[in-house]
């Protein structure tokens, strides 16, 4: 018996040695750029996914580099000016950011490869990275704007649940202010953090369909509902609901303050769930309350799949890279979901009982969502998006009012 076993093993070894060159002509190296730096919540998910990929494909090596978010935007755009310098696979935001690169012909179309992954990845998740009917990006995670609440602080102000109407929210904030607790933290130094507050208010005032039309440029900004939302937001600022230091702080500082118990609420992307979940204290997730029940419901959310991997048209091995992008995307999604750094864009085919409590709660909110609007600065192309961000920052600094906001944007973005 032992002899036979030994012979079988020997035979297997021989075939495997012979078989290797048959399977793969040459070892392939794929290069990849992303923004999962050491401190990024997604870093472990990338590491695990890449390790899993290289184990499954011993003939393919992934050489990857991570860059700090802000400098990455400069870097990828410079690289687009000479497509030869692009890596095979690159991280990008869906919507207009990727759209500009697609329009320039620098991105490889993933339609053929997608056919192999259709079962695991619903087509609706590819929507934000599809242009003229072609699919150009693999979604990693999807995220929505989430209202995080520190229940211990709320309890101090006499609240045992997150307010679900605007009246309750103002009552709660007034009680918090009275107790000397700052209700909200918002990083003014990074304007996208301000949109995480403003966009849900607008959506809950005019409804997600109307907001979608505005972001897509099909409807005018000159909408009294938007002006009203801006006034609501500025009312909250003027009543002292926001940390006055916020204007000079970055998001990481604000988030740290919230986790340390300095603010009662923090409204930001659901990718923070894992971190908030693991922090000491009693936290809950919710959505911003409805402002105008005629147009909006509680279940309307801001967000969608935005974090995306794309393949360069200049890649030497576009098919291999495309396949890798899908497999990596799937696994980054998998590990990211378990770690709480995002919700799955891919249908989970693994045990999800280990998912963190807050993540599961947000997943439930998404499952019950009535409608969704993509983040404004992702939906709009670069120039108008930055004009929009300029105006949002003016709103946060109360430099302009609602009327100025809608008239200014309507005039500049037509």
């Amino acid at each position: 018996m032992k002899k036979i076993l030994a012979m079988v093993i020997a035979a297997l070894m021989v075939t495997s040695i012979i078989a290797v060159p048959v399977h793969a002509d040459d070892p392939v190296t794929l290069t990849m750029w992303c923004i999962a730096t050491e401190s990024d919540a997604n870093r472990p998910a990338y590491e695990q996914a890449i390790a899993a990929f290289e184990e499954a494909h011993p003939d393919i090596k992934i050489e990857w580099e991570a860059f700090e978010n802000q400098s990455y935007k400069t870097k990828i755009k410079a690289a687009m000016s000479d497509p030869e310098t692009l890596p095979d696979i690159f991280f990008t935001w869906a919507g207009a950011f990727l759209g500009d690169f697609v329009a320039a012909g620098n991105v490889y179309c993933l339609d053929d490869t997608y056919a192999n992954f259709q079962e695991q990845l619903p087509e609706v998740m590819l929507q934000n990275a599809s242009y003229d009917g072609g699919h150009y990006g693999v979604p990693l995670t999807m995220n929505i704007v989430t209202l995080f609440a520190n229940m211990d602080l709320l309890a101090e102000a006499g609240w045992d649940h997150v307010p679900e109407t605007y009246e309750d929210l103002t009552a709660c904030c007034d009680a918090l202010v009275e107790k000397g607790i700052i209700p909200f933290g918002c990083a003014g130094k990074e304007t996208w953090c301000v949109t995480e507050y403003l966009e849900p208010i607008i959506e809950k005032t005019i409804g997600y369909e109307a907001l979608n039309e505005v972001f897509a440029g099909r409807a005018t900004w000159n909408n009294p509902g938007i002006a009203e939302s801006v006034s609501t937001f500025q009312d909250m600022i003027n009543k002292g609901y926001f940390d006055p230091s916020g204007m000079a702080l970055g998001n990481d500082e604000v988030k740290a303050n919230f986790i340390a118990g300095k603010y009662a609420f923090y409204q930001n992307g659901s990718w923070n769930c894992g971190e908030v979940n693991d922090a000491e204290g009693n936290f809950q997730v919710a959505l911003f309350p409805v402002m105008n029940a005629e147009n909006a419901t509680y279940g309307q959310v801001i967000g969608g799949p935005s974090d995306t991997l794309a393949v360069a048209a200049s890649s030497k091995n576009p098919e291999i890279a495309a396949n890798a992008a899908f497999e990596l995307g799937r696994d980054i999604c998998h590990y990211g979901y378990l770690a709480g750094s995002g919700l799955p864009a891919w249908t989970p085919d693994y045990d999800t009982s280990e998912v963190k409590a807050l993540v599961a709660d947000v997943a439930e909110i998404v499952a019950a969502a009535d409608g969704m609007t993509l983040f404004g600065d992702t939906a709009m192309s670069a120039d108008p998006a930055n004009t929009y961000l300029d105006y949002v920052s003016l709103v946060y600094g109360t430099e302009i009012d609602g009327q100025g906001f809608i008239e200014g944007l309507a005039e500049e973005l037509q």
Binding site: K73, A78, S245, M247, D383, D390, S393, E399
Partner: protein
């Protein structure tokens, strides 16, 4: 000798590395930028020729804010010439006369120049931090709670808060340049004046200053062009914010090139910056010549 030094082959050989480096990396790319500045182009797709529209927009559109950015950098230039240089000159005159501890002071004052701008920026970010920064902590401990500010977050204070480290860092640089000039004043001149009973202030005014005028001129040129070109520290501290109140032409250019995908407009800013720096250098030269 003359024949040896007139050999065309040698002349070419000595010049070629410099010309290749200079034209390949400085001149050619700028010519390219000049060309792009006449187009409406996102840096990726089709270019549309629009003549001088980009330039006209820069000077007329409030939205782009180029004039504001230019104004900011001119204020910086003014402060640099009006505050930084006099301070540097004062230090140079005092130290150049030769006093106890001259070397130590010289070394300390030059030190900030040697620290990387990014380090200086990160350090001052911490100094200005509204909650834990040493500046607000100091004010609070002095009982001046009402003086504390979010220095980098307010329209009113941000520009000043950005300029202070910018000016602070390079005092030592100008000081050393001017100190070198002061040291080069021939001893005999000084001694002769002292024998005539001249006071220190008189020696400085009638002997040292006229002697080091060429160096003052260079210092002024560096201060002004340096202010117009300033980028790194502002990029680290505020990146032009809040509400574009600390924007200077260079940060605006990077914004146009990489954030707004307005490649033609960014190139136009680059070209204008070069023209402005050059014009200022010429004007300053002229002013100093006329004084002579």
């Amino acid at each position: 000798m003359k024949k040896l030094y007139s050999n065309k082959g040698h002349i070419l050989l000595f010049l070629i590395p410099a010309i290749i480096l200079f034209c390949g990396i400085l001149i050619a790319p700028i010519v390219m930028s000049g060309y792009y500045s006449f187009f409406d182009w996102d840096g990726l797709g089709e270019k549309t020729f629009i003549g001088f529209s980009n330039y006209i927009d820069l000077f007329t559109s409030n939205r782009i804010g180029f004039m504001k950015a230019l104004g900011n950098s001119l204020v910086l230039a003014l402060l640099s010439v009006g505050l930084q240089l006099p301070l540097a000159l004062g230090l140079a005159l005092v130290l150049g006369k030769g006093i106890k501890g001259e070397r130590i002071f010289l070394s300390i004052f030059f030190m900030p120049v040697l620290i990387s701008t990014v380090v200086i920026g990160q350090l001052w970010l911490k100094i200005y931090n509204p909650d834990y920064g040493i500046l607000n902590v100091l004010l609070r401990s002095l009982g001046l709670e009402s003086w504390t500010r979010m220095w980098l977050g307010l329209r009113e204070t941000a520009l000043g808060a950005v300029f202070i480290p910018t000016l602070w860092q390079y005092v030592g640089y100008h000081m050393l340049l001017l100190y070198a000039g002061v040291k080069s004043v021939p001893k005999e001149l000084r001694e002769a004046a002292m024998l005539d009973g001249a006071k220190d202030s008189q020696i400085n005014r009638y002997i040292v200053l006229p002697y080091i005028k060429p160096i003052i001129r260079i210092s002024v040129i560096f201060a002004v062009t340096g202010s117009l070109k300033s980028f790194d520290l502002i990029y680290v501290l505020t990146n032009g914010g809040p509400f574009h109140s600390t924007e200077v032409p260079s940060t605006l250019m990077i914004d146009m090139l990489f954030l707004r995908n307005r490649y033609g407009m960014g190139s136009a800013i680059a070209v204008l910056l070069i023209i402005l720096c050059f014009a200022f250098a010429l004007i300053i030269n002229r002013v100093f010549k006329e004084e002579e």
